[in-house]
Symmetry: C2
Subunit: 251 residues, 2 copies
């Protein structure tokens, strides 16, 4: 499986992805899922990928080839992120369909999901989730983040904390905690963890991190988080005897 997060807040974008892929529990390997495109200087486009690895690689290759060829629609010619998302959805469905209906492979699943994030020209930064069906959604003031893959373990901390006006540094650490919790609770999500902090209008990918399993910073983050959680549980209001009710014993 996979876990990727894209948060889109006032100050910019935070993208975080794990690197574990598996085709069955005994066939685990490591592939980065965050991919940056070498585009014109007026834009930055980054993809996060989940799902069938052959499909996501075929899609990335096709996007690259379209861009090299230059003619027709490609990441250098799209005028806004939603157009990029629509184009990506089209390519994705095409690649999935090439392998979907092979005879005698009923358990085979070619589907893939993407997050496309970045900034184009004078448009604001943004993030889009492109479903396997090729349709797509973006964030809103109420829900500032998108997730693909094993999204449930890491959702509560994002739900409770991430707002439009959260500072980008705190939002980044919140996303790292969300990733660390998922890695700890689900063996199909694993390091290295990649993170890109994109500050709006910077058109720079310089604030990029790649944390291995034994990375000092990640160990510190995990230790600090676990200590603070213990404190937080210790500080929760105590249950009073007066709160108890009579339990119905009717069976």
């Amino acid at each position: 499986m996979t876990y990727c997060i894209a948060a889109s807040i006032d100050e910019g974008l935070i993208l975080v992805s794990d690197s574990r892929t598996n085709a069955g529990i005994d066939n685990v390997s490591t592939h980065g899922k965050m991919h940056a495109f070498d585009t014109h200087n007026d834009r930055k486009i980054v993809l996060l990928c989940a799902g069938n690895l052959a499909t996501t690689q075929a899609v990335l290759e096709q996007l690259h080839r379209d861009k090299i060829k230059g003619a027709g629609i490609n990441f250098n010619t799209v005028e806004c992120l939603s157009e990029a998302a629509e184009y990506l959805g089209h390519i994705s469905v095409e690649k999935q369909n090439q392998h979907k209906n092979t005879e005698g492979q009923s358990a085979f699943n070619a589907s893939a999901t993407f997050i496309l994030a970045g900034q184009i020209g004078n448009e604001p930064h943004g993030a889009y989730m492109v479903y396997a069906e090729g349709n797509y959604i973006t964030t809103s003031a109420n829900t500032t983040f998108l997730q693909i893959g094993e999204s449930k373990y890491g959702k509560p901390i994002l739900d409770r904390f991430l707002k439009l006006d959260t500072s980008i540094d705190e939002a980044a650490r919140c996303c790292l905690v969300s990733m660390d919790s998922t890695i700890r609770s689900n063996a199909s999500v694993g390091p290295p963890v990649e993170m890109l902090i994109y500050r709006t209008n910077s058109f720079s990918l310089a604030d990029y991190y790649c944390f291995d399993d034994d990375n000092d910073y990640m160990l510190q983050l995990r230790r600090s988080w676990e200590n603070k959680l213990r404190e937080a549980i210790g500080a929760l209001p105590p249950l009073e005897p007066s709160f108890t009710k009579r339990m119905r014993v009717n069976l």
Copy 2:
């Protein structure tokens, strides 16, 4: 859906359950999922239920009828919790099979999962998860809790915090946070929240709570938790510029 937790630690058991059931998104109702049996004084047996409501109700009824009838195996005659779990598994499979193969209902799912917890005679307290197939598992020193239903949202906090020697009051608050996080992140899990704290060798169900949506204690708990999480994120070690790496832009 459903979310139920059973933690089995040195000091005793904590059982927590939500009360939302739904047959489709437009058919939501409220049913308690924690059920205590009126058994002989040498034992306490409590069930938590997830899955098809008709199945779980049929199973509870059958367990009750077997106990009233008195002959043969029932919750008054089983000599230990694993025997009780095996008996429950048998009844569960029987009830599921009665409805499983009805013609023309391919989307219909009669399956149900249970947690059976309590204490019998001189045996230690314990908790068992009974799968839809009727087989069952219990907790261990490494994994002190069982979950049924929407288990992923609330798992990280239990994974990070619950140990055999955690105090039962802190463990109870930790389980409530796990439930509150799940309710906040998933609309198919909802109040009232029931909680039973069973202290080992007490053979008492007096430490029972039922929290409605607008319960003052739950509101305090949520507020305290969110404040402390904000503090915890603020206290995480900062990302230093020296941690950044060069991002590969190869597409």
